[in-house]
Symmetry: C2
Subunit: 518 residues, 2 copies
């Protein structure tokens, strides 16, 4: 499917592949690693026996025109090497059951997918089947009845709660919030197209503008749950989340784990959610229970949550400590450390033009309809959206009546009839201002970073403008119509003459010929 | 070879293909069209019977990674449709006989090719086998003994001259000039990469930086030949050149024809040449006689010259009137006319970085060797070359001792040790100033034009800088060496840890942790 990626190669296993059991009944596809250091060591030894192929090169060369764009052979092989092929296969079946058929599968496994642009911005609330998915491992199958959540670590009363208990409104007030979740990979393709970057073993998926979606999430504020456990014990200041998916980093295996500061939880901005748009969570989105962290990078909104642990300082787990780092442009393979990048938590202000799409050739009469989304994380919201038809010299404000509802934690959709007089290739761009008057960096180059995260610069597309309110263009369109020809694509040769000999001679005489008089 | 281009399709000829004869003995592959209007009409009728396939799309999608890059099926089929397949086959044989094996064949037929960059700038004078070729049709085979040149039109004494007469130094003084010839397609690939443009029926070949070369040409000044014919008659002010190659335009057939103003000839800047670097012209370069117009677009330097005609005004032939036009960026398929573009004659100041090449990842100790060429047409010459390591903010002058000889009509090669402190992706660029203080447009965008000619903006490449004079980078290089790993390519995942837990903890303590104190 993705020809640039190597096919699965047969493994040269030196020992028999152990069968890592699912530890908990009713939790299929969930291998518990964190409580079993000996199993982790066994995997480390096992993975050392294999020479996994290099991930496919897709940054130095054009992306494959396939769907899935990338298949994730290396990640599949990690699973295969430790006897977990069935998780890979099952995960793809879940995609086909739960997601729209026309998703762009930017990575087949672990599954990463985004909806086509026109549907992405059709509604303020994204339908579940169109909501983007950025998974880091396989999809487990967890029975709601068997489900339990452990609250551990530096809490006064470590507790295990069933889903029924969490949903018991006499114990916990229920809340519903409209929240946009955004992957820090959104619009990564623009950074890749500009400059190659991190070749991570978990491929940095080539996202377009669709790794962002909005849903109404229902659940309980984690603050109330911690309160229920008697509160934190000193010196706890962060909460670590563990998900049932399996993650790999430099030859070691983990359950997916990240953390958020207690301050964030205290602000009632961390929800333990079991409903998405009024329906039980789809399996691919974390059934039966997931975290939803408002205004943060999606990576903290852990799916298939099985444990919340109160700790001192951020999680030492690889996704928190060693991934989702934001570097200055002079940092890269030659000098990147874990400590010299920002740890991405709050997401900055950003926006994207979804229609038209780059390279479109647009016939219009002086105005082009431009549509898209605008978002700001960290509790900020988009106040003003500005669109430019000349690469960012003159900006037009989107009228407020063309912007969707304001929420503290969600995007706004917008559209504008942009005045476009000029013809030929134009650079259309958008920038958004949030309520703290933050706006977006000017160019991709202004904020390119080695790990290719957070592409938040003014979004720019190339559009070929054909303005039929111009007499010369109107004449050509008539000429094409008479000859039964199309203006599209512009790179197809014109079969007709551009100008009659008579017109040419008249025009040349008027211009005083090609050469000076004397 | 070029998978994006359709294979030759069988023709649905409704009539028998006529055998168009070579009119002159000793002139193989030369079909005379211009003196035979009835033959031209016959071809027009014949071509109408075919539905030629669209040329391949290579502007909206990535270029094929093949060599030939494009094969020119459509142009081959034009020849095939009128029974001239043998010219196509013979032309490719000539390429293989006369040109270096490692040329980049940007178009197989009509042949367009450029030498690899390292050889292109190895010597001030380009070896014949490495000199770029931009042909518009097939390569004829003309016997020097049978060769004649007709001087016709508005001259006092229309004359036919043999090669022996032209070479007779008692009739004509012989001269040798060092002249750079440049195709207006040089660096076209940068315009294509930025924005698609004209889909011409004679494919606009995707040239790199090598459609420019320099030779010492020997022959006779056309001024002397015209004088020999008694001079021009009023109102002649242009000289039209006819070549023996066959050209097509919108369903009609021609011999290749263009013109230059008499003023240009009077300045002794138009040579009729039979020698290239001390050897008889190679067949592919116009044997036995060609025009060399100093400082003009290469298209006026007609090969296989059989006639010079004195006329009033520029040539009405399609290459002069309807090709090599330079439009303003708002002109394109929707409104382009023949009369609203400049006719490209004099070439402007331009330059290119040949080493390093774009996307190179360069390990250095604070200085990067940068090399290239600089040229200005129209009788100007490059005086100053400036190179920037930061996209054009700070410019370094190339020391004059690092620039090759000054000529009135030739390029200068240059090299410089550019100070580079920064790491990561940098934009290196070059601009040249000529003796009239003309310099290059800033960006491709500044001078993009529909026909994709004359890409003369400051040449920019992307280079990933790895500066080992920086301690952090030196440490990483040591770490890689110890692990037996390479820094190349930068997109291959690092197998080693970026930082030990101990170093991370120390660093984080020094930074005061990830989060604020209170």
């Amino acid at each position: 499917m993705a020809p640039s990626e190597p096919n699965a190669i047969p493994f040269r296993a030196k020992g028999e592949i152990p069968q890592f059991k699912e530890e908990k009944e009713g939790w299929e596809g969930y291998i518990e690693w964190e409580k079993y250091p000996e199993k982790k060591k066994q995997v480390e030894a096992l993975l050392k026996q294999y020479d996994f192929p290099d991930p496919p090169e897709f940054q130095m060369v054009p992306l494959p025109k396939t769907n899935p764009v990338l298949t994730g052979e290396r990640w599949k092989q990690y699973h295969s090497a430790i006897g977990l092929d069935h998780i890979v296969d099952e995960s793809w079946r879940v995609v086909q059951n739960e997601k729209s058929a026309d998703m762009t599968h930017v990575l087949q496994f672990p599954y990463n997918g985004e909806a086509p642009g026109d549907r992405l911005i059709k509604t303020e609330i994204t339908p579940n089947k169109d909501h983007f998915v950025r998974n880091h491992g396989g999809v487990p199958s967890i029975s709601a009845d068997a489900y339990t959540l452990d609250i551990t670590g530096l809490v006064k009363n470590p507790t295990t709660l069933t889903l029924a208990q969490l949903q018991d409104e006499t114990l916990f007030p229920r809340q519903t919030n409209t929240v946009t979740i955004q992957c820090s990979g959104t619009r990564r393709i623009e950074q890749i197209h500009s400059y190659p970057g991190d070749g991570d073993e978990l491929i940095n998926a080539p996202w377009g503008e669709g790794a962002i979606s909005t849903a109404r999430w229902t659940g309980v504020s984690l603050k109330k749950v911690i309160k229920h456990c008697g509160g934190l014990l000193s010196p706890a200041d962060n909460l670590e989340f563990f998900g049932a998916d399996t993650y790999f980093k430099k030859g070691q295996v983990y359950n997916y784990a990240v953390s958020v500061p207690w301050r964030k939880v205290q602000a009632n901005e961390v929800l333990l959610a079991w409903e998405m748009n009024g329906e039980p969570l789809p399996r691919i989105h974390g059934y039966p229970l997931r975290v939803v962290v408002f205004g943060y990078i999606g990576a903290r909104s852990v799916k298939w949550l099985y444990e919340v642990r109160a700790i001192k300082g951020p999680s030492e787990a690889p996704v928190q400590k060693k991934e989702y780092l934001y570097y200055t442009p002079q940092v890269g393979k030659q000098n990147a450390l874990y400590s010299n990048g920002f740890s991405i938590q709050d997401m900055p202000v950003s926006s994207a033009i979804i229609s038209p799409v780059t390279m479109d050739q647009v016939v219009h009469q002086g105005r082009v309809k431009v549509k898209g989304w605008a978002y700001s994380g960290g509790g900020h919201w988009p106040v003003r959206v500005e669109v430019s038809g000349d690469g960012g010299s003159i900006w037009y404000e989107v009228p407020y009546e063309n912007m969707s509802t304001k929420y503290y934690y969600a995007w706004r959709l917008w559209e504008v009839d942009l005045p476009v007089d000029a013809e030929g290739w134009l650079e259309l761009c958008v920038r958004t201002w949030d309520n703290a008057m933050n706006t977006q960096p000017t160019y991709v180059r202004s904020a390119w970073n080695w790990d290719l995260h957070v592409t938040s610069s003014a979004h720019r597309i190339k559009v070929y403008s054909i303005n039929t309110s111009k007499p010369a263009t109107a004449a050509r369109m008539k000429q094409l119509e008479a000859a039964g020809l199309s203006i599209y694509p512009i790179t197809r040769p014109l079969k007709i003459e551009l100008e009659s000999d008579e017109d040419y001679d008249r025009e040349m005489a008027a211009r005083g010929g090609r050469d000076p008089l004397e």
